[in-house]
């Protein structure tokens, strides 16, 4: 081998461009970043998920016992289904709110468009926790809503139905993630060519048909991009359900945080985290095939 190596420097190689050091150097920081903060933790997470807890000790033997627990236990299955339903529900409601808003800002915002967009994202400038707490104050037993309803005489005494249930969880999620849906939808509407709508009208299509056959297909990538934002943010969240959620309505995020905290079963928690990731990746894959990220 060494003898064959000595035969090289091929005459032509002298004309080859020098190694693009600059390119590799610029790639290095993001690569390091991704490796240290993304790939390594995921590998750790995956290895924990196939270990198991025995007598308060993590046994580093390969087994699928955690996944079996997750899928055979009725309570855990309920939590998975509830989380999925909540995430899908929040996404759909956000779409329904974002569509008219995005349409209006994108088409009729005119010179105020930048300002209106700014107003949409303004809530994001305050802390996420503050926004969740605000809902606690609004919906609470002695909260703003109850006081207002009592002041106008609709209620005789404060009601408990507003806070600590599925309703308050979904309402809070819908509110805190809404900007992530509206932004891509506005972008999609901005890109929508006005002439297509005129053509559709010229061809005698009623407004609803124009919306269904022309507008919707063209803004779908924007909606999907927003959906994957909202869906994945909801799937992994545990703060909202623990602050405004019901006593018996925990989501996957709560189960994971309790496995890593109060109950100290990291392997089971890691397995749960992988389940959440798989669900989100499945959603992402479906949405990607529809070309969602083209318009993010």
């Amino acid at each position: 081998m060494s003898s064959s190596l000595t035969q090289f420097p091929h005459p032509r190689s002298r004309r080859r461009l020098p190694l693009p050091v600059g390119l590799y150097a610029t790639l290095l920081p993001p690569l390091l970043w991704m490796t240290l903060l993304y790939f390594v933790p995921i590998v750790l997470l995956m290895s924990y998920s196939v270990w198991r807890l025995e007598a308060f000790d993590i046994v580093k033997d390969f087994s699928f016992v955690n996944f079996r627990t997750i899928f055979t236990n009725v309570a855990y299955r309920t939590v998975i289904l509830r989380t999925l339903a909540t995430a899908l529900g929040v996404t759909v409601i956000d779409i329904l709110i974002a569509l008219p808003l995005g349409y209006w800002i994108g088409r009729y915002g005119g010179r105020y468009r930048a300002l209106l967009t700014l107003l949409v994202i303004l809530p994001l400038w305050s802390s996420y926790l503050v926004r969740v707490f605000a809902w606690k104050i609004i919906l609470g037993y002695n909260g703003v809503l109850n006081s207002a309803l009592m002041a106008v005489g609709i209620l005789q005494e404060p009601s408990q139905v507003f806070l600590y249930n599925q309703f308050s969880t979904i309402l809070t999620f819908v509110h805190v993630w809404l900007p992530f849906m509206i932004l891509p939808v506005i972008t999609a509407f901005e890109r929508l060519p006005q002439d297509l709508l005129e053509v559709s009208a010229d061809l005698n299509a009623p407004p609803w048909t124009t919306f269904r056959r022309v507008v919707l297909p063209l803004v779908t990538p924007g909606i999907l991009a927003g959906s994957i934002n909202v869906f994945s943010l909801t799937m992994g969240d545990f703060i909202t359900p623990s602050l405004v959620g019901s006593a018996n309505g925990i989501l996957l995020g709560n189960v994971i945080s309790s496995q890593f905290g109060v109950s100290y079963n990291w392997p089971l928690g890691a397995a749960f985290a992988l389940v959440v990731m798989l669900i989100v990746f499945a959603g992402l894959a479906m949405v990607l095939r529809q070309g969602a990220l083209d318009s993010l």
């Binding site: 994001l124 996420y128 037993y141 806070l163 006593a247 905290g261 079963n265 993010l296």
Partner: protein, 350 residues
């Protein structure tokens, strides 16, 4: 498209904000690090220690014994010098080799510890002390005295329809032991599967009454103050906090139906500041330290110095003169089938 850039930046900011709250506690210079139950390193008395020794006390609060154990162990025992371990994890800490034996001769105030607490079976292993008992108390029933009349005398009040949606329980699997006690089980820490099924039935029947499971004493106090709940299974700390805030709060300890804890300071085997840790333990055993802990938390102290510091009357209230309550309380201990307990708890919560 500036929207695209904007959304990327925003998503980035948000994920960063979500990532922030996990702040690691690191020892640097003379910084004493500890993982404790809420109130055990309150600045009202820790400040004096910091002035006297020049060591800063940096504490992390835990929500359950398991969390305490996990966090204490996570950094190889280097993250925290001290742990305020309850009786259910002292043995686990010893067996995991995470704590070092205590040289009682290094503690000036050790002789003041109640004789029956010196060499207590919850922190003495293999004939050597691995912890120093400094506080104990029962889990009590606290209630809004304006809303709950007449004053309750038994845990049964939690199930009354009048308080539907008005009660709170701790979000901690150890609560199962309390329910077992209400059901009349002799040893609430040794439950068979049949016992657990019975506990589950009771908790499921109780669930409609539960407004919220609490995780920190601060959260529980807030639930009372905002009118969300009227009754709770709580630490005496909540009673102390709320009565100091002028809230109409009452507390009952139904006889024979009490769980509780006996807490010991234990020093990590890999502690960075073992000397400072000894100084802290000694300080908490002293009159000032004991009075500080008792005033802040409302728990009972463990030394004669503490009993003298709060006065005979208060010491009697806290059962520090005859320790009669201590023997009645079913103190938290290690649970053999704890996995099943956690599972049951998750089922109740889901």
């Amino acid at each position: 498209m500036w929207h695209r850039l904007l959304s990327t930046v925003l998503i980035g900011c948000l994920s960063f904000a979500l990532w922030l709250p996990a702040q690691p506690v690191q020892a640097a210079g003379c910084t004493l690090t500890a993982i404790v139950w809420e109130g055990y390193t309150d600045s009202s008395f820790a400040k004096k220690f910091e002035q006297d020794t020049g060591c800063k006390v940096k504490a992390t609060y835990a929500g359950s014994s398991d969390e305490m154990f996990a966090k204490f162990r996570a950094g190889g025992g280097r993250t925290y010098d001290l742990i305020s371990a309850s009786g259910d994890i002292t043995e686990r800490l010893y067996k995991a080799g995470l704590v070092q034996p205590i040289e009682t001769s290094k503690l000036k105030n050790y002789d003041a510890v109640f004789t029956s607490f010196q060499g207590g079976k919850w922190n003495t292993f293999d004939g050597r002390p691995y912890g120093v008992t400094f506080a104990w108390g029962p889990n009590v029933l606290v209630y809004d005295t304006k809303a709950v009349q007449p004053a309750p005398t038994s845990w049964d009040v939690l199930a009354e329809p009048a308080y539907a949606g008005k009660i709170s329980l701790p979000d901690n699997p150890m609560t199962i032991a309390d329910v077992a006690l209400w059901l009349g089980k002799a040893d609430p820490y040794d439950l068979t599967e049949a016992d657990l099924a019975e506990v589950k039935q009771t908790l499921l029947a109780l669930r409609p009454n539960i407004r919220k499971f609490w995780t920190t004493a601060g959260e529980l106090a807030n639930l009372f103050q905002s009118g969300e709940i009227e009754l709770a299974h709580a630490w005496p700390l909540t009673y102390t906090q709320l009565s100091e805030a002028g809230f109409p709060i009452g507390s009952v300890s139904p006889k024979g139906k009490l769980t509780g804890w006996t807490d010991s300071w234990m020093i990590s085997k890999n502690a960075r500041n073992p000397e400072a840790a000894y100084q802290w333990i000694d300080y908490v055993l002293s009159s000032e330290g004991q009075k500080g802990v008792m005033d802040v938390t409302g728990y009972s102290g463990a030394t004669t110095l503490g009993a003298a510091a709060v006065g005979a009357e208060r010491a009697h209230e806290l059962f520090m003169d005859d320790l009669s309550l201590h023997s009645q309380i079913k103190m938290w201990q290690s649970v053999k089938n704890y996995d099943q307990w956690v599972q049951l708890w998750n089922e109740i919560r889901s």
